[in-house]
């Protein structure tokens, strides 16, 4: 393929220095980036291979109870970490519902966050696509757009962000730790991905050279462990991206929802946290009526971007179901078909 530089920095500082050059890109496991390069969608001039950077592959519990997931932690390792899965079951379920076992064994946390859209026109270099070639137009807008966004889209771009794990992470107030040219900073995961507006080529708030070091789940996020689920609809039972997905987490006190968390996947260019739905649930009894209202609230601003109006109603129903499943209690063991409506509801509940 195209000739490019390949560098394997020994430290984070070297990595950032190497990646700040125009046309540079970080390479983690490459399960997304290399596909994009083979398809001529991405043509980086320099690959900065971070996969062997020391210290970024750890899952640590911090003194304040937060859990810090290094950017190089493999999706499978995180999902199968027993303590992590017990504490953040919706995150583990989302991870295991993504891609295939082989991909999960390779894919990293940072790469999953930064993976690019699956819009077919983005991948088809002969099509107009503002995300790939700014200003060229958006062939999805009047094309095959059954799977595209129903929230937060713009005329310039109607693509969705495909990550599963980002959805529960957004719901649980995850924080992204970043190091860049100007030192370290952090931002809520919710702020990482951008809505397209007029500049859909810019997926995230990261600047050139910015390296994700870790994702942190605050201590409070563990408070949802007993009632947290991820639910994902797709066109086959496994190994498919989400049509729509939802992460629902509840903190129940005395039969009442003390606090609720809800985020949607597959509906927008970012994991879609719905605070309106969360507010609608707070203080309510966990019943179908409450769930339906929350679903209405979550999709209140949704509108089709094409032949995809069904996603709005589908998302409503999915939200209601995910909340009901969360209310019923996290299963003690992750179901055999993670996040699938076909994962049996029967069975032992999570003991927090």
């Amino acid at each position: 393929m195209n000739t490019f530089d390949y560098v394997r920095p020994a430290s984070v500082a070297d990595a950032i220095a190497a990646a700040t050059a125009p046309g540079a890109a970080y390479l983690a496991a490459g399960t997304n980036l290399l596909d994009l390069m083979k398809g001529d969608i991405a043509r980086p001039e320099r690959l900065v291979d971070i996969s062997r950077l020391p210290g970024l592959d750890r899952i640590e519990t911090l003194p304040d109870g937060a859990v810090r997931i290094g950017a190089l932690v493999r999706n499978a390792d995180l999902a199968h970490d027993a303590l992590f899965a017990k504490t953040y079951p919706a995150v583990a379920e989302a991870l295991l519902s993504g891609a295939s076992a082989q991909l999960r064994n390779a894919a990293t946390m940072g790469g999953n966050l930064m993976q690019r859209t699956r819009c077919g026109y983005f991948y088809d270099v002969a099509s107009a696509c503002n995300k790939r070639a700014p200003g060229s137009g958006c062939d999805a807008r009047a094309g095959e757009n059954r799977l595209h966004a129903v929230l937060g889209w713009s005329e310039a771009c109607i693509a969705t962000h495909p990550s599963d794990v980002c959805v529960p992470l957004a719901a649980l107030d995850a924080v992204v730790e970043i190091e860049g040219r100007d030192g370290r900073r952090e931002m809520p995961l919710e702020a990482l991905h951008r809505l397209p507006g007029d500049t859909p080529a810019q997926d995230t708030a990261l600047a050139p050279g910015d390296l994700i070091l870790a994702v942190r789940l605050p201590a409070e996020a563990a408070g949802f462990a007993a009632n947290a689920r991820y639910l994902k609809l797709r066109e086959r039972t496994s190994y498919a991206f989400a049509l729509v997905s939802a992460a629902a987490a509840l903190r129940l006190e005395g039969g009442v929802i003390a606090e609720a968390r809800l985020a949607l996947g597959g509906v927008a260019a970012k994991p879609w946290r719905s605070r309106a739905a969360e507010q609608a649930l707070a203080g309510r009894r966990p019943d179908d009526d409450a769930f339906r209202r929350a679903a209405q609230a979550a999709l209140a601003d949704a509108r089709p971007s094409g032949d995809n109006g069904f996603k709005i109603e589908l998302a409503r129903r999915l939200v209601a179901r995910a909340l009901a499943l969360a209310a019923a209690g996290t299963p003690e063991r992750l179901p055999a078909l993670p996040a699938s409506p076909f994962s049996s509801a029967a069975g032992a509940r999570h003991v927090a």
Partner: protein, 754 residues
């Protein structure tokens, strides 16, 4: 058997006595799971270089510019082949000398007739350089509006569908039958374009030595490939040696030499070095055939007693602008259900796609899902159980021809399948069943059918003085187990056990084994092997029975039986002689004989020949979310003699899984403006994964057919797709009460109108 192919000789593969009928495991299994089986692209002859296709991103128009300078300047690039400098061919790639010859895109001009068409080939020292060279060509085009989909142009009635079938066939008066019917059903069904996604993409390693050509490439029809290449390149077929010991799946796509394979040969000629060319996954979506989309209108009339009075099946399909293949979807209505009036018809539009071609059960698969859905709709409208309705309209003779069936154990298939599945407990009305989790449960069924075809084949049998035998026939192992099943037939034909039988296959210098297609390979090549064995045994018997020193002297040729490496006198087991002794006394190192096979025209004139089956499916559907899963499948199939039940079952499984795919998953999504396919990858072109096929059972129903061929073999390769797709669709209706007529059924189809 070439030296590198070491097939298993474990005791399981060396049994004594009859080998036919034994459920042996694949003799090439160990090779495959250890990576020892060498597929075409695994070959790297000395000096080999790489060729990569540049393909068109427009569907219709002309290439006006290729940046040849940029591509040639890239380090490692040896040559760029375009219409301007492509080596000459002896035959126009657009010539069509017979209906079985399909036009190829071999850089004959600058025209573009589908997206993904090869427009140049870059040859380089490395795959990377060739790939980059192809990208650097940065083609420019003069683009015309693409014609896309079933409504892409004005329809017409093709001269023939499939291979030479009439586009319109009728018996009786369908309109009168409908007019007089107590119940009438009319419904329109749509099936999508499907593309070949065999695990192994088309690949070729080609090397020229003067006018002699040596090729590694997967082929389902070695002799036909040899003939096609010979014609294109103007060389004698004998000068072409093709090796195809293993195919990583074919499903029809490797039945003919495709354009990219011929381009690999041209590339080798151009640079004078061996060349390897392998299609990328997305390059499979264009020049190697596909299953065309269909829109089918079914009209059924039923009398008060539940018998069909009319069956009308009309299919619209697409083909390319430059060649003729028309998916014969409506023809499935010829054979399955008794009706005094049947009319089938086809129409087509020409659109800017590669020519659609054969894909597992071409015509039967597309037609069956529509017909089986319509039968289900009709049964419901008549207030009859779908199985009872099918039995009521059971065809005792082939409806369209009036011919008796050579054999037809479909009733037993229905009975055994229904019993195993528990069909009698099915509630009549839809949306009646739920599982313990509240999911909707539905049961549906479909009838499976596929013609029992025979083509032509040859085999050569050898008996050696050391007591071993050789059977040669250039058969094709696509994963179905040809190395095993044919060796079983060969061993029996030679009266040897498998350890003493060497079976040679998979190369073009062996006798022509015909085509591994039409589910006819085992019957066709198997019969040639059978005949070759009989012929060589007859020669051996002549030697013995004509020699006064033999214990078999005077027995006459028909008076001996071959078994276990000996000839026995019929009726007197005490008189026998080993093959080796007979040959030794005759002073011969070995003897050989040839056998051929072909369909028996008399039997074909007298009988309708089909395999049959019944498939029962359970699906579960989430009542709110519409997500669907085929949770249980039982198929019962009758296809004549079973050579190896393990291999046969795996064919049924594979077919049934494709049926699930047809009903619920598989679909190429094309941009309606550009005609480019947007999901040309295995991540988003959905076929079932393990989780989509939780329970699958295939019952082998006994059937003896004295007419199809002497071995009694029908085909099993394709029938599983038929029946299954409809059964799953019908189960979705039974689960939800919602009839989906556009396939694959998507969860949004189940959301609306609940």
């Amino acid at each position: 058997m070439s030296p590198e192919i070491r097939l298993s000789t474990t005791p399981a593969h060396a049994r004594h006595g009859s080998s036919i009928g034994q459920p042996l495991t694949r003799r090439d299994g160990a090779l495959k799971v250890t990576g020892g089986a060498r597929y075409a692209a695994d070959n790297h002859p000395e000096g080999m270089v790489h060729a990569v296709l540049a393909t068109s991103s427009i569907a219709r128009g002309r290439v006006t510019f290729l940046d040849l300078d940029a591509a040639k300047a890239h380090p490692g690039v040896l040559a760029v082949m375009t219409p301007a400098n492509r080596p000459p061919l002896a035959e126009d790639p657009d010539a069509k000398l017979h209906p079985f010859m399909f036009r190829l895109d071999l850089l004959q001009n600058d025209l573009v007739r589908y997206a993904g068409q090869p427009i140049a080939v870059v040859i380089a020292e490395t795959l990377e350089a060739a790939t980059e060279g192809a990208a650097l060509l940065a083609p420019r085009y003069e683009t015309l509006p693409a014609r896309v989909g079933l409504d892409g142009d004005t329809p017409f009635i093709p001269a023939a569908v499939g291979i030479g079938n009439p586009a319109e066939v009728r018996i009786g008066d369908v309109e009168a039958g409908l007019a007089g019917a107590a119940t009438r059903i009319e419904a329109v069904y749509e099936t999508p374009a499907q593309y070949h996604n065999a695990m192994e993409p088309h690949a070729i390693v080609a090397a020229w030595d003067g006018d002699a050509l040596s090729i590694d490439t997967p082929s389902q029809a070695l002799a036909m490939a040899q003939g096609r290449i010979a014609g294109l390149f103007g060389i004698a077929p004998d000068n072409i040696h093709i090796r195809s010991p293993f195919l990583g799946g074919g499903f029809g796509s490797k039945g003919f030499i495709t354009g990219p394979q011929a381009l690999g040969i041209l590339a080798a000629r151009m640079v004078g070095r061996p060349v390897k060319l392998v299609l990328r996954r997305e390059q499979m979506y264009g020049p190697v055939g596909h299953r065309a989309p269909t829109r089918q209108r079914l009209r059924l009339g039923v009398g008060r007693d539940g018998t069909l009075t009319a069956l009308g099946h009309h299919a619209k399909t697409t083909s390319s602008t430059y060649d003729d293949f028309f998916e014969p979807a409506a023809d499935v209505a010829h054979t399955l259900y008794a009706s005094p009036a049947i009319a089938t018809s086809h129409e087509a539009v020409r659109i800017d796609t590669g020519t659609p071609l054969f894909m597992r059960a071409p015509g039967e698969a597309t037609g069956s899902i529509a017909l089986e859905s319509a039968i289900d709709e009709t049964a419901w409208a008549c207030g009859m159980d779908p199985l009872a309705f099918r039995l009521k309209n059971y065809a005792e003779v082939e409806p369209i021809s009036g011919k008796p069936f050579s054999s037809k154990a479909l009733r037993e298939c229905y009975a055994q399948g229904a019993e195993r599945f528990g069909w009698s407990r099915r509630p009549f009305a839809p949306r009646q069943m739920r599982d313990e989790d509240g999911l909707l449960v539905g049961w549906g069924m479909g009838t499976a059918t596929f013609p029992a075809l025979m083509f032509q084949a040859e085999a050569r049998a050898v008996l050696k003085r050391d007591g071993t035998g050789v059977m040669e026939s250039g058969t094709h192992d696509m994963g179905q187990g040809a190395w095993t099943a044919f060796a079983q037939i060969a061993a029996d034909a030679l009266g040897l056990d498998m350890a003493r039988t060497e079976f040679r296959a998979g190369t073009s210098d062996l006798p022509d084994a015909g085509i591994a297609g039409g589910s006819a390979h085992t019957a066709t090549a198997g019969m040639a092997i059978h005949h070759a064995g009989a012929a060589v045994i007859a020669r051996l018997a002549d030697l013995a029975t004509g020699d006064a020193r033999s214990p078999l002297f005077g027995a006459g040729n028909a008076g001996v039986v071959a078994r276990d490496g000996r000839l026995f006198r019929r009726g007197d087991e005490s008189r026998s002689e080993s093959y080796g002794d007979i040959l030794a006394r005759a002073g011969l190192g070995e003897i050989d004989a040839r056998g051929t096979s072909a369909a028996d025209p008399d039997a074909q004139a007298s009988y309708a020949m089909h395999a049959h089956g019944a498939v029962f499916a359970e699906v579960k559907v989430d009542p709110d979310l519409g997500q669907i899963r085929a949770t249980r499948l039982v198929g019962a199939f009758a296809a004549g003699r079973v050579i190896n039940s393990r291999l046969v079952r795996s064919q049924y499984y594979g077919g049934m899984i494709w049926g699930v795919s047809f009903a619920l998953h598989e679909q190429a999504v094309a941009d309606p403006r550009s005609g480019r396919i947007l999901n040309a990858n295995l991540g988003e072109y959905h076929i079932p994964v393990n989780a989509d096929v939780p329970a699958l059972e295939a019952l082998i129903v006994e059937e003896h057919d004295p007419h199809v061929n002497a071995l009694g073999i029908k085909g099993v390769g394709e029938i599983g797709v038929t029946g299954t797709a409809g059964a799953v669709a019908n189960a979705v209706w039974h689960a939800t009460g919602r009839r989906c007529r556009r396939f694959p059924i998507r969860l949004d189809d189940l959301l609306t109108g609940r």
